[in-house]
Chain length 343, copies 2
Amino acid sequence: MIYRIGLAGCGTVGRGLVALLGEKREYLEKKYGFSFSLNLVTDFIKGTVASADGLNPREIIENLDRSGGLRSMKEALEDTRLADLLRRTPVDILCDATPTNYETGQPSLGILQTAIASGASAVTCSKGGVGLDLAGLKKLAADKGVKVRYESSVLSGTPLLNLAQGPLAGCLIEKALGIVNGTTNYILTMMEGGADYADSLREAQRLGYAETDPTGDVEGFDAAVKVCIMAQEFFGCKLSLSEIDREGITRVSPSDIKKAREEGKRVKLIAGVERHKDTARGYVKPTAIDLTHPLASVSGPTNAVCLTTDNLGDVTVIGPGAGARETAQGLLSDILDIAARNA
Amino acid sequence: MIYRIGLAGCGTVGRGLVALLGEKREYLEKKYGFSFSLNLVTDFIKGTVASADGLNPREIIENLDRSGGLRSMKEALEDTRLADLLRRTPVDILCDATPTNYETGQPSLGILQTAIASGASAVTCSKGGVGLDLAGLKKLAADKGVKVRYESSVLSGTPLLNLAQGPLAGCLIEKALGIVNGTTNYILTMMEGGADYADSLREAQRLGYAETDPTGDVEGFDAAVKVCIMAQEFFGCKLSLSEIDREGITRVSPSDIKKAREEGKRVKLIAGVERHKDTARGYVKPTAIDLTHPLASVSGPTNAVCLTTDNLGDVTVIGPGAGARETAQGLLSDILDIAARNA
């Protein structure tokens, strides 16, 4: 089978996926028996290209790099609604790489729903839609006999959700503790080295880790959405953003960090979720953790999650938490998993 | 489909698997749609029981705990060859939990070959067979249209091999560096605390981490076999045990550890394998690693592997490296994966 792939959202991550697919075509065929054609790329700003015969990933990259958009390509279409695009150019797997609005989950939620309604499996790296209503999306997908996957929505492509679903199958997860936001971990690592909060934030902004308005990261919203995803994924519990006990890093002072060090500890912004009676309890909180804990040595923009399980005790995974290629890798892993389970 | 499961080797890990299957039956049905009957358990010392209608896991555990064996059960059979047992009581998945001989790979290699020849998928936690000839076993399995899986042969049930095969699909692995032997890591952690080698070894023996003859662990043979498995799994390269550049921990002195500490490092027995031209280079070697490296804080009997990949950079997984339930979990993960890909 040749999988017809579509992509909604062609910013840095979408571009990363197109590049990865182009670069790895032969490897994917040889190693995984996975063949694909990229039939649709649509981006609100950059335009839309579609071809039932398959687009050339290299040409897409060249156009993006040259003109910043897709409108000069011969396969360019007038902008139109995704549902219409998918009717004209159906795909088997639609990848969503649009930016996230935490509150509404849009445009991700609508894109995933539209893709599934068209009969496609849906893969996303956006936190918004799955954070808001993973159960609803899963039900829609089950009704249509397709899949929805979202590895990159937490820890980018570092395996966590697919790890729990696949290689940890049979384990009951009791608790997850993580460093799931690279920006705040970078700032705390700088502060550990002696810098104050304002300077550390400025340096993170200079390096592109933090946005001009850093609220989403430093107030813990980004981490809290990831807690919602983990709560749904690990415990089947739907928590809303307002139910997460959330505290960011803006009030962490050099003296907190010094005090922790004197106690053999290190301050980390911990995103936690655990079973609590019939539901789950989630929080985001600066926490002084013991230096012997595997999360303590996770520094800079690196992310990590420690899962406490019944069969294995603690299992920790450490890896990148952001990046175009890293996030695209998570989308690719989801695509390959859908294909493998379909074979 | 109801999967018919067989088990060869009913020591602590085999017993752990029987217990886990008994305990988790409803959970596995509900969460994974996985139904099974345990039809065959055979152990060279403890005897053989078989039933096409399914054995009761709880009764097996009771008999093992009461009499140390299976011969008093009503389903007990005279000892006979595995091939004959599988002809009389065919299974869909045979689990091998026998102890390993590194040199010959037996009895594991023969058990896996016999199981596959009978038309069963084969799952093992023994290093011997897969360390010696993974490619041969995979070819046999492919010819028969069945699977061979071996997650627990490295890091017990902590996901590594299934992690690379599943959630990391699409990544090229360039290098693996690991702490893959709990006994030596426990000893080095004790020495880090000030004890000398002889005392640390005695304490490891007292706690059951080290065997009376500790050669296999402390001279690095156990780790070297795991390097052979990783070389085959990650790079498709067959390395023999003698091709691994191997040095154990018997010559590590308190002054080596002190010197490392003064340099901001920690001595670990590192098992490494990396691409080298068209083949792979493997080694086991006490190495002073920087305290900022994720492997540096892995202490006691805990294991870890850091994979360097093209798409994600470094991804590290940390978890238990031994234990009955932990190893049985790896077998269970393999069983569930075979079933999921078969669905």
